[in-house]
Every structure is written in structure tokens, then in C-alpha cells.
Symmetry: C2
Subunit: 326 residues, 2 copies
């Protein structure tokens, strides 16, 4: 199936990469002998947990804002998010010296609120449901003439996240397979485009929790399925797939592997304990799928994108408890 | 004051570094803008949490074993430790293909026991007191003709840990000040020797919890003070100072800064949350002392040795609770 007509092209990916390069980290690749042995091949981890704001989201948000005419953003930018996109927009807006207004559900964790404030974001609380979030954001757009930034269903955002894939292609002589988690699909579709335009025989796979398997179902049904109830511990992956994202994923992604909640917790523990790095549950989903054997990697080495490291340490006991009898 | 006559010399430090280099990591230096801002100068972290066995202890243990005549170790090696030294000896012995017998208190955490077993160590449990540990180790030495490896009061061990300092001198054009935690004193005395022999105007400071301030007291009294009751959360620093270590520290270390338990927990949280890396409480002690202002750094930039990353994730709630009202 062809790529959607409005998917960013190869030139746009390269431009996005150059545009954001002065402000984001070219993150390291790390490996761990124990984990590679458990998986059965060399696994390299692309450490976006070390990225600005602690997650790949900094790339897309900045790429989008840097392309807006000044008149469109000088009064400010707005988004609704309780996660890494909120921090990314606040961070990128501060770089551009424009106000950031972030709509967050009133039951958001205190650390997430604090993180957004740390980057200078103003917070507007709303009731914890999608409708209230969208209404609140729309109201702010109208009242303040702020510019709305979608978290994933946006070609600039996708082109920005694609820089993860471009870096992988640069950093390795022959990357064999890229594996990224999928929530809204910005990271996965970006990596798939990067591999399509700049890789050589470089398949891209996605990984998703069973409890949030709308992307897997969407691929199987051939049309976009709605998000599932927000139950998975991988809180960054609870959102539904974007439309443009789905079009790209359908065309350019090889497959999506699923994993259980227990596998996610075990994979996260492995990464923390063996690699000594902090990753959020969503970032552990690809390793969980690899260990469950749901990625058909056909003997290839794997580059796993560790999407982020923003986890509330106070949540650790509750997260580990999901694997208590494991 | 002169260095003790039996302190390793500069040539021995260089040889130790070369001897162990094929098997240990030259660990990265990392920095973080927020932490540097909080401290008031650039802080670079030498990431020994990414070292083999997750702590600098791999360096000294390997340097010691590689210098033993085969007859002395072929029947095995033995040590008593409930911490990183146990893993380091088991790891180094496995490299040399000799048995490792580790005496551990019967109340050791399950993860520590598992870690030693992972490296192939045989464990002999004993009652949880110093006398029982030493008796058990001596008995094993007699029964099996194993070779005993002291955790820190040993010139090969000190020369091995000194490679941390040698790497810092190599990795930076002008390192300005090295700051390392002090327990038995192997790491601190090694770094001080490295700075003395290979640094240029490079002061070395130690950092210690108030609840385990025997090194601080020893420097003040001019003679070695016994270890304090094992109360600090920084479990790697509860041990008393070695004799050779004290002699080197007295001669070559500029001073020792103290910190409270709360500061340790806050510093650890900062490192986890901002740098996205896993460190054990002991490794956070230098940053805690810096933030408390007990290191007289005189405007210098600081290189902090992050000594290790071996922390039981199940202990996290209990550790964070020490700063609950903070």
C-alpha cells in the first residue's frame, strides 16, 4: 500500500532533523549482554530517556513550532496532555520565548504538573475526560489566540520524531530492524518513514500492550480502531492512533507485537536493574514484546527505541506489584 | 604529610589500568543542566553505575586477582561482603575460571544473594555480625585453601580503583576537582593517588554521611576511628576506613564533606529523575554534600564519582520515605 499523499517526504525528514539538531540530543545507543542473551540476539537501545524533557516528544514539538510563522505563535501555544507531550510543548515554547498553556486533567499526578511548570508552562485544569480536555483547549485558543499543537496526528510532529530513525541510520553501519512503541503513532510512523527513505532493507516493527492494542487491531482490520479503556501500566501508550499516523504505519510498518502487563513490568525491571537507566513503563513495551516472542524478527539484530524516562518514583511499588506473583 | 611507604606508586597505577582495561568499561562522563545550576557550577558525573557488576569494585577485585600466582587462586577465592565487593570478586573469579566463595550474612537481601549467584559465586551464610563473617571466611580459607580478597585495605585493590581517577584525567583537558564517596576508602584513596601522580593542581575530596562519618573524624583526630553503627541509608559506606587507605587519604585528600540522610535521598532522587540513571544511595552522597555546601570547592568545577547502581527496587519506597516530610 502506498504512503498517504500528505506523509512527510524524505527531504522534509532531513530538514526537520537539521532544524532541531541544535537543541536536541543525538542520543546514545546502549546495549547490555544479559538482555541480548535473553532475547537471543544483540539488542541496541536508542536512549530517548536521555532526550530533552526525558522523551522523544521534544523532537516533534520543536520541529512543529520552529516552522510556524511568528504571528501564529507569538500569543502562545496550547495543547492538552497529561504526559510527555505537555512537557515537550512547554519546553519548545520556552525556547521560542512564547507562552505555553497546557490543559491537564485535574487528577494529574503532582510530578507531571510540576514538570510542566518547570519548563514554564501555564496549566489549565479540566475534568478528566477527553471532551473536557478538548473543550478547555478550544476555549483557550479562542480567548488567547494561542496556536494548538496536536500531540501526534500532524506531519511536522511525525517528521520531528523521524529524526530518531535518521540518527539510528547514521549511528550504525547496517541497522537490521527498528522496534518502537506505538501510542498515537508519531514515533513509529516517523521511524518507518526514516527507514523507508534512508535505510537499506530496514524493517520497522511496533510494540503495544495487549490492553492498548488498537494499533494492532487497526492493522488487522484495515481501518483505524478507537483507543481502548485506559488500563495499561504503559500510560504513554493509552491514546488512539492518529489518522495520518495510521496511513503511514499501514504502508510502512512490518507488524506490531503485543505484550502482557506483567511482561512490561519485567522488561522495565530488567532495564532498570541491568542497564542502570530509568525508563518509563511505555519504553519497556518493545523489550517486553521481544521477550514474549511476538516480534517476527527473522534472525535480525534489533534496535529498540527507549521512548522516555519520565516515571514518578512514588509509583514504583504499584508498578512492581503488577508482577508480584511473577 | 608523606604518603605511606606501601602506597602504590604512579607506575603501579598505570600498570593496573592497563591490566584491567580489556575487561572493564571506561565509563562515560555525564552532566545535567539542572543539577549544575543547583550546585552552582558544572558537575560532571563519572558513571561507575554503568561499570561491570554495576560498581567500581570490579576494577580493584580484578586487578588483585590478575596479579596472583596461579597456585594461590586455583583452589578458589573467598571474601565476606554483602555488597558490591561480593559481586566483583565473583565476577573476577569467573573471568579467571576459579571458584568464588562468598560469605554473606544470613539476613542479606535476596537480590544481593541472587546477584552473587548470577556471577557464579557460591554463598556461605553466616550470622549477621563482623566476627561471624571473619570466622566463616577464615574457615573456608583453611578448608579449601582459597585465597582471601580484602574489600579495600589492599594495595592492588587501591591501585585498581585508582583507574577511575586515571580515566578522569584522560577524559578531560583540565579536571578541576574530584569528589568521591568514602566507605572503606579504596575508591577515594585510589582517586587521590591518581590525581597526585597524573593530575595538575587537581584536589580530591571525599564525601560521607553524617551517620557514617568515621573518615571525617579520623582526619580530624589524626588517627583512624572505628566504623559507626550501620544506620545510614548509604549501605555501601557503613564500613570503617582501611589502614593503608587512611594513610593515603590523610596525605593526599583535601577534605571530607558530610551530608544528612535526607540530603542523600534528595540527591538520589535528583539523579534518578533528572539524569534518568539508576544509582544506589551511596553514589548520591557526593552530590548531597555538594548541595549541602560542605565541600569547599573554591569555585572549581567538580567531577563526582557515581560509585554504583546496585539498589534493590523493592527498597525504593522505604528509601524515599526518609525524605517524606521534605
Amino acid at each position: 500500500m502506498d504512503l498517504p499523499a500528505d506523509a512527510p517526504n524524505g527531504e522534509e525528514l532531513r530538514e526537520a532533523r537539521e532544524r532541531i539538531a541544535p537543541w536536541v540530543h543525538r542520543t546514545a545507543l546502549m546495549s547490555n549482554a544479559t538482555i541480548s542473551r535473553l532475547v537471543g540476539t544483540t539488542v541496541l537501545f536508542k536512549c530517548e530517556n536521555f532526550q530533552k524533557v526525558g522523551a522523544f516528544k521534544a523532537r516533534g514539538a520543536l520541529n512543529h513550532l520552529l516552522q510556524q510563522p511568528w504571528e501564529r505563535i507569538e500569543k502562545g501555544v496550547v495543547t492538552h496532555s497529561s504526559g510527555n507531550h505537555a512537557q515537550a510543548v512547554a519546553w519548545a515554547a520556552r525556547l521560542l520565548k512564547v507562552p505555553a498553556r497546557i490543559v491537564m486533567p485535574e487528577n494529574s499526578a503532582a510530578v507531571k504538573v510540576a514538570a510542566v511548570r518547570r519548563y514554564g508552562g501555564e496549566i489549565a485544569f479540566c475534568e478528566p475526560n477527553d471532551e473536557a480536555r478538548e473543550t478547555a483547549a478550544r476555549k483557550i485558543v479562542e480567548e488567547t489566540q494561542s496556536h494548538f499543537v496536536h500531540p501526534y496526528d500532524n506531519r511536522d510532529i511525525i517528521a520531528g520524531q523521524a529524526s530518531v530513525g535518521l540518527e539510528i541510520v547514521e549511528q550504525l553501519d547496517h541497522p537490521e530492524l527498528i522496534l518502537a512503541p506505538v501510542g498515537g503513532g508519531g514515533l513509529l510512523s516517523g521511524c518507518a518513514l526514516a527507514a523507508r527513505y534512508y535505510g537499506t532493507d530496514l524493517p520497522v516493527w511496533g510494540a503495544e500492550p495487549e490492553l492498548a492494542s488498537d494499533a494492532y487491531q487497526s492493522l488487522r482490520e484495515g481501518r483505524r480502531q478507537p483507543a481502548m479503556p485506559a488500563k495499561t501500566v504503559a500510560d504513554g501508550l493509552r491514546t488512539g492512533l492518529g489518522e495520518l499516523n495510521f496511513g503511514i504505519i499501514r504502508s510502512a510498518v512490518k507488524g506490531i507485537g503485543l505484550c502482557s502487563e506483567k511482561s512490561i513490568v519485567r522488561a522495565m525491571r530488567l532495564i532498570w536493574e541491568r542497564m542502570k537507566i530509568v525508563v518509563e513503563p511505555s519504553a519497556a513495551v518493545p523489550l517486553a514484546a521481544l521477550l514474549e516472542g511476538t516480534i517476527d524478527r527473522g534472525g535480525r539484530q534489533v534496535i529498540v527505541v527507549l521512548s522516555g524516562g519520565n516515571v514518578d518514583l512514588n509509583r514504583i511499588p504499584e508498578i512492581l506489584a503488577l508482577d508480584e506473583d511473577g
